[in-house]
């Protein structure tokens, strides 16, 4: 089998003639989070009619139109959605995780808010 000649394409994906790239210098401009950085957007997808939009992830885009197009390209390549929302991340306000305990405890001792709290005779059947 190994007598066959395998045609190896050495153009395009060529190994180094002189191996080693530890001396490669960065030619890109230094990173700055300047005004030239595209803002961050949060992406929400409705997977099918009748369901809520659900947070899918985030991306960078110059404006809303681009954010929606990019979201289409990266988050719905396999028909994951029929509708997209994008919101610039800076407009999202969130509850503070450090306060979570006191913030959400009031709901903890109110078991009477759940239907299972009430014992009813079996004769009632469905209620």
């Amino acid at each position: 089998m190994n007598t066959y000649f395998i045609k190896k394409f050495l153009y395009g994906d060529i190994p180094e003639v002189t191996a080693g790239a530890s001396d490669v210098k960065n030619t890109a401009a230094p990173a700055t989070e300047s005004k030239d950085t595209w803002p961050l957007w949060e992406v929400f997808i409705r997977s099918k009619q009748g369901l809520d939009h659900k947070h899918a992830g985030s991306l960078h885009a110059a404006d809303a139109t681009m954010a929606i197009e990019n979201a289409r390209d990266v988050y719905t390549r396999r028909q994951e959605g029929v509708s997209l929302w994008v919101v610039e991340s800076k407009y999202i306000h969130a509850s503070n995780p450090d306060d979570a305990e006191s913030f959400y405890t009031p709901a903890e001792d109110k078991v009477y808010r759940h239907p299972t709290f009430y014992d009813l005779p079996d004769e009632v059947k469905h209620m």
């Binding site: 395998i6 994906d13 180094e16 990173a31 992830g57 681009m66 390209d73 995780p97």
Partner: protein, 313 residues
């Protein structure tokens, strides 16, 4: 709260399988480790596009070309999910991309090997993506929420990558003698580098212990590598090909395959930048980044202009 208590509460959450979310308190080292790992992972997706995109124009049929384009597009998307996950830890994407382009940040060494024949596309899908998937399936349960969610999304898409690779080799393995030889040759060249993808041996891995304790990782390098060997050693039978390891043998006692010693010298040499294609990959990344600069600027300028028009109207 004193830092010891915060750390204790943090470890408690991890032990109880409660995910860590971006705004939760976390030890600096946890933040740093995750930032490094997630951004490296993102870089690997992005650099991984290079050897494959190179074959789009040379794919043997329209079907294979469409598949390859879809795969390369997926890798770009995976890079984005991961950069976005890493950004939630406080480092900007610009900074991460800059670290990649300057050679400061690492990416998976596997992409420093060249893809010389069409069969390499199949071998990369089957072996390289196959190795990556084992790691990624584990990471779907990693302790940092955004990373875990990105991995779930990625895993859903990745399984097509491995399947198309295997199927592509399967076709070659049933082809002409020359195609069979090409298939075997690709497997020969990609097998050992794929094993290296899991990283150094457990006994020599410096980050492993803490990462396991923090449940960033849930399996050690050697465990994952063994899973991979067991999986591939069986699958290759269907191709009628051979893995280039004379020591590969089923161990009835351990219920695992034994395999030969990895060339660690080569591993470290490639990690340190002396692989066959390190320079080429970084050059390609820098070229793309620099030549795309005007697009990024123009998009910002256009968005500004549109906004000004709206406020003026």
């Amino acid at each position: 709260m004193p830092i010891e208590d915060l750390e204790k509460a943090f470890q408690n959450k991890i032990d109880n399988e409660i995910k860590i979310e971006p705004r939760d308190w976390m030890p600096e080292a946890y933040r740093k480790t995750n930032t490094r790992q997630i951004s490296q992972h993102a870089h690997s997706e992005v650099v991984g596009m290079l050897p494959e995109s190179n074959w789009i124009s040379r794919a043997p049929s329209l079907k294979r070309k469409a598949i390859l384009i879809a795969k390369v597009q997926d890798e770009g998307g995976h890079g984005l999910y991961l950069y976005a996950a890493a950004e939630t830890l406080g480092t900007g994407r610009e900074q991460m991309i800059d670290d990649l382009n300057s050679g400061k940040a690492k990416y998976s060494s596997i992409f420093n090997y060249p893809t010389l024949t069409w069969a390499d596309m199949g071998a990369v899908g089957w072996l390289v993506d196959g190795a990556a998937i084992l790691n990624q399936v584990m990471l779907c349960r990693t302790s940092y929420g955004p990373y875990a969610r990105a991995m779930v999304r990625i895993c859903k898409e990745e399984s097509f990558h491995q399947r198309q690779g295997f199927e592509s080799l399967l076709v070659l393995s049933k082809g002409t003698d020359e195609q069979k030889a090409m298939c075997q040759d690709a497997i020969n060249r990609w097998w050992w580098p794929s094993l290296m993808m899991f990283g150094p041996k457990d006994s020599e891995s410096t980050n492993s212990d803490q990462s396991m304790k923090w449940k960033i990782k849930r399996k050690t390098n050697d465990e994952l590598r063994q899973n991979f060997v067991d999986m591939i050693a069986e699958q290759i039978k269907l191709l009628g090909m051979k893995l280039p390891d004379p020591d590969l043998k089923w161990n009835e006692e351990k219920k695992h395959y034994d395999y030969g010693e990895i060339n660690w010298e080569e591993f470290w040499s490639v990690v340190k930048g002396n692989g066959p294609c390190n320079r080429q990959r970084l050059d390609a990344r820098n070229k793309a980044h620099n030549e795309g600069a005007w697009v990024r600027e123009a998009a910002i300028a256009y968005a500004e202009k549109k906004k000004n028009k709206q406020t003026a109207a």
